[in-house]
């Protein structure tokens, strides 16, 4: 199954946000999207996931979803999007409750997803009791439990502190390498982009266009935090982005 963006354009009122974005995500491939603040990365992801209708172009699914996938295109959110009134297990169970599954099977699926994210001991905890890292692990468990084909991740680590981010990055690379999910990974952090992605889409300022696409051929499993080659790739992207990042930073919101 491939996820294809076909000449997607979008805007809000008079504000043009995205313009003519085309790319595709193949089976098991991670595409990172980077770009300055407000260039429409989150909007693009919402369009890809069917949460927003684009003004122009369209998002397509090519091929069929793998059998057993309950929710082929699944989001992971920046702010975790956990229901605070449900326990960890309840939050994961939420997305299975309206599916035709036997209660026992559902329980088993939830327990399996929690175990895979190291959350087995936290099944009955409420989100507020968890650290940020654990909360995002719940978000990942919830995404895994529906057996997705493509994960759409909107800055999944940016709400975490640097050390926790490091820990989750390890978990995430492990997961993506083991499961062969496809994914679109939006981030500001070029270090994350070069560690996870096969291709990096560098976007321009609003209205966001694809400025360049950087390919990184090395398998994810072999990449590590202190890798000089990756650092150089990140540095190169940064040089190309810097000016636009400065401009985005100095932009005044009207109001």
């Amino acid at each position: 199954m491939r996820l294809v963006a076909e000449r997607i354009g979008h805007g809000y009122g008079a504000l043009d946000v995205l313009s003519d974005i085309s790319f595709s995500v193949a089976d098991g491939e991670i595409v990172a999207v980077v770009g300055p603040s407000g260039c429409g990365k989150s909007t693009l992801l919402r369009i890809l996931g069917g949460l927003e209708r684009p003004r122009a172009g369209r998002a397509l699914i090519e091929g069929t979803a793998p059998p057993g996938s309950l929710n082929p295109i699944t989001f992971v959110f920046q702010d975790f999007a956990l229901l605070p009134w449900r326990t960890v297990a309840g939050n994961v169970a939420l997305v299975l409750e309206d599916r035709p599954l036997a209660a026992a099977e559902r329980r088993e699926m939830v327990a399996g997803a929690l175990a895979r994210m190291g959350l087995a001991d936290f099944a009955d905890a409420y989100p507020k009791q968890l650290s940020g890292g654990m909360r995002q692990r719940v978000g990942l468990a919830r995404a895994l439990v529906v057996r997705p084909a493509v994960l759409l991740m909107d800055e999944p680590l940016s709400a975490l502190d640097a050390q926790t981010r490091e820990l989750l990055m390890d978990d995430l690379t492990g997961l993506l390498a083991a499961e062969r999910f496809a994914g679109v990974y939006v981030t500001h952090n070029l270090g994350e982009a070069v560690r996870l992605a096969r291709r990096i889409l560098v976007m321009s300022r609003r209205p966001g266009r694809v400025r360049s696409v950087v390919e990184i051929a090395r398998p994810i499993a072999g990449r590590s935090a202190g890798d000089a080659e990756l650092a150089a790739a990140a540095q190169a992207i940064w040089e190309s982005l810097r000016e636009e990042a400065v401009a985005a930073d100095r932009e005044l919101a009207d109001g």
Partner: protein, 261 residues
Amino acid sequence: MAEPVPFRGGGFQPRARRLVAVATLAVLVAGWSLASRAGWVSPIALPPPEEVATALVRLARSGELARHLAASLSRLVSGFALGAGAGVVVGLAIGLVSLARSAGMPVIAALFPIPKIALLPLFVVWFGIGEASKVATIAFGAFFPMAVATYGGVDGVDRTLIRMAQSFGLPTLSIVRKVVLPGALPAMLSGTRIAAAIAIILIVAAEMIGANEGIGAFILAAGNLMQTDQLVAGVVVLSVLGLTVSGLIGAAESVLLRWRR
């Protein structure tokens, strides 16, 4: 040559101390009693607290208090249930459906500021002089704050939670039940607090029409007869009722909203 870093923090965190609170109330009552006994306050203007206490005890002993409370509480409960129930339904509709919002908001805005006492003569014509008009007065009072709080609560539900639920393909009804309603619950509970306070306040107005029993009727009769000791006793009962209901809602909150802070 080394001196400590000057302290410049602290403060701006006043704490309510229970002891001082109790002491304050005690001092107030004692001062009131003293002023009455010294003759600074005429018993018509404010009966001494002992007389109020005596009136209360007499009221309780004779079973009158129970009778009046029972009458008022039954009106309160049914009026509140009707009004608040309708308020939740209308509030949900306004919070979820564009048409209901467009139609409901202006009507609520126009009717909310109308004092219920002004409508009493019409209520009597509409609902008669029996229980119905009293229950309707209370229901009418409880309806608006509940409706406003409910749609405010629905508006306040984190949209990313709703988008999350949609992105996992949850059906709309499930989203309303599992995301919107629990998310609006805190606001609805504080709406309940206000609606209950208004319902208690309206007891007196509701019992202005043709009521022989009820705390409100009792207070009105005492006021008409200038029996200030009984009047204040009745007011004390209402105040205690208000505090009790507010305490109950607080307890409900701490159970239902365990997941918060």
